[in-house]
Symmetry: C2
Subunit: 109 residues, 2 copies
DNA sequence: CCGCATCCTGGGAGATACTG
DNA sequence: CAGTATCTCCCAGGATGCGG
């Protein structure tokens, strides 16, 4: 189980709540890349640098449990699974947009 | 040394850059609370749940090295040290604001 | 009060092999 | 293809004591 700040924070504040949902580099990257159209497990693995299948799986499960993404299995051969942002997931995009804007502005090579 | 996604990411993207600077729950919390007026080391330690001195020290150093906060030492007895956001630090506030807004809207007790 | 030096531990993450 | 199951490793972070 993931240890969360919530567990021992007396003055629970919104920022901490958000951090507990997405304050994890992997999760933000997953959301970011799903938004960009990388919907399949393999696609995500290719585009996110150095994620192991294991970790990617875990993060996808957590995001699903938090209602941020949907998982759709297509009964095909070979099997196909697609992930999509839920409404809640979409509501996170402004945060990622702000981060993206900041990165663009202040990034130095 | 902190292992950064940057080190092994072929397609370097702004979101990842931002993540490398602040994609760490402690750092965001530090920025958040400095903004709220908790400028002293002790104040930060009191207000951030369960940070050890060590960790807080490290994060403050990293933030300082990244030009996000300033450190001012007052030659008093007892000693006093204050941290302030630099211009670069202030430029991060929109991100935190978005996170705060999101938390307020979707937080369930 | 602030914070460095040490030591130590837990659990996040990688590697690998195996299934439907 | 898209996972699960295991095992291992590593280091971020906690605890503690000292020093300016």
């Amino acid at each position: 189980m993931e240890r969360k700040l919530k567990d021992y924070n007396p003055e629970y504040c919104p920022v901490i709540y958000s951090l507990n949902k997405i304050g994890d580099r992997w999760k933000l990257l997953v959301i970011h890349y799903i938004r960009k159209g990388n919907l399949r497990f393999g696609a995500l693995q290719n585009v996110i640098p150095n994620v192991s299948r294991q970790t990617l799986t875990n993060k996808l499960r957590e995001l699903e449990a938090d209602g941020i993404i949907n998982r759709t299995v297509y009964a095909e051969v070979p099997p196909r699974v697609e992930y999509n942002l839920t409404e809640l997931g979409v509501s996170l995009l402004p945060i990622i947009n702000e981060m993206s804007k900041w990165g663009l502005k202040y990034m130095r090579p």
